[in-house]
Symmetry: C2
Subunit: 205 residues, 2 copies
DNA sequence: TTATATACATACATTTCTGATTGTATATAA
DNA sequence: TTATATACAATCAGAAATGTATGTATATAA
């Protein structure tokens, strides 16, 4: 083997990330070794160590590829006034999120790793903190959306936007977790759509 | 060192479980070694291997000490008609669960390990399945409680017990997860009580 | 055209963890 | 009272993973 062009090297890098994602899903992050990743990617450990300093480094690269586009979608869907009334936008956001899990394999695998195939200790403790930061942002935008809904008279009487946002945030969080936990029984997966509709109509006037 | 009495051996066994729990919280299950557990328990690896075949074995022993009493509490609190009206019982159940996390260190650590310090692959994939089974039970009992509430005319018009149970189940699930994820910012922990109240009053007539 | 940096593969040294084996003092059963 | 099983400690061999060091062909810059 010899030296490759920059474009080819970038492709190798991406193959390593893809291989890592698959291996993380299958074996969990801890039990995945650099050798596993290399083997799945069809390269040697030398290549992996050339592109990434450590397994943790690969993990973060993988996460960023999914997490960064996600952040855009939150504000875009939740706050854009042209996308229907505020309550519908919240519902749409959640429906789209679950749709993403069903259709986008990369997003699905990455979410699955983050929710149940990695341990939040040491270097990974920070991942949790960052996710919580993202949660705060989403919470703020949910609160804004519920406030708009209240102004527009769409909310039932006596409902506090902040409290509703927290409840929806919690609901949305566990929809994703339960979606993965319930892979065999199909308890959640088939009912997702209706659960979201029920959740929103509970607060619509 | 020499042989100990049966009572002393049982104590050693419990010390090993306690040591494992602490170490799992600190280092995660994967990065915890038998040596770590032994050292924390003040024994050698010989003792750990005498009482348990593997680290996985220790994990399951630890989990059972918390999970088994938990199952009792679900049916007891949710279904016992003498404990107030159905909606209050659901609220009480959730409040008691969060109270447990705040006051019982053993329960708290075990929940923390299960939610964020272990990877659900291979032998541990079954743990997820069992938790889901437990979830199904809880869901059935929540549905029963909401049905009673509807019969008694406590529920708002047009609310389906099954749908409400799913929403509450999801809410309850993420309360626990977020409680741990939000350790620093205190976003969730301080608002837990109110979130539960808001969740229930959303469906009370 | 040539020197150099690049993109890996290969080989090696070291650490770490496990599981099995062996040793042993003593509780307990007979 | 004595034989045996128990409850560990201590030792050892082997596998596995990491990180580094080295080799090398070639893309690329000069």
């Amino acid at each position: 083997m010899a030296r490759k062009t920059k474009a080819e090297a970038q492709l190798t890098r991406q193959q390593i990330i893809d291989a890592a994602r698959q291996t993380f899903v299958k074996r969990g992050v801890s039990r995945t070794t650099m050798e596993h990743i290399a083997e799945t990617a069809g390269v040697t450990r030398g290549a992996v160590y050339w592109h990434f300093a450590s397994k943790t480094d690969v993990f973060f690269a993988m996460r960023d590829q999914v997490a960064l586009p996600l952040l855009d979608r939150i504000s875009h869907t939740l706050l854009d006034e042209e996308r229907g009334d505020p309550l519908s936008r919240i519902e749409t956001y959640m429906q789209e999120t679950m749709e993403l899990l069903a259709t986008d394999a990369v997003a699905r695998q990455t979410y699955e790793i983050i929710t149940s195939k990695c341990e939040y200790v040491y270097e990974f403790a920070g991942v949790r903190a960052q996710m919580m930061q993202c949660g705060h942002d989403m919470l703020a935008k949910l609160t804004a959306a519920y406030s708009r809904a209240k102004d527009k008279g769409l909310l039932r009487q006596g409902l506090e936007p902040a409290a509703m946002a927290l409840d929806t945030f919690a609901f949305s969080f566990s929809l994703i977790h339960l979606w993965f936990a319930d892979s065999e029984k199909k308890l959640i997966r088939t009912k997702c759509h209706d659960m979201i509709k029920a959740h929103i109509s509970l607060r619509r006037l």
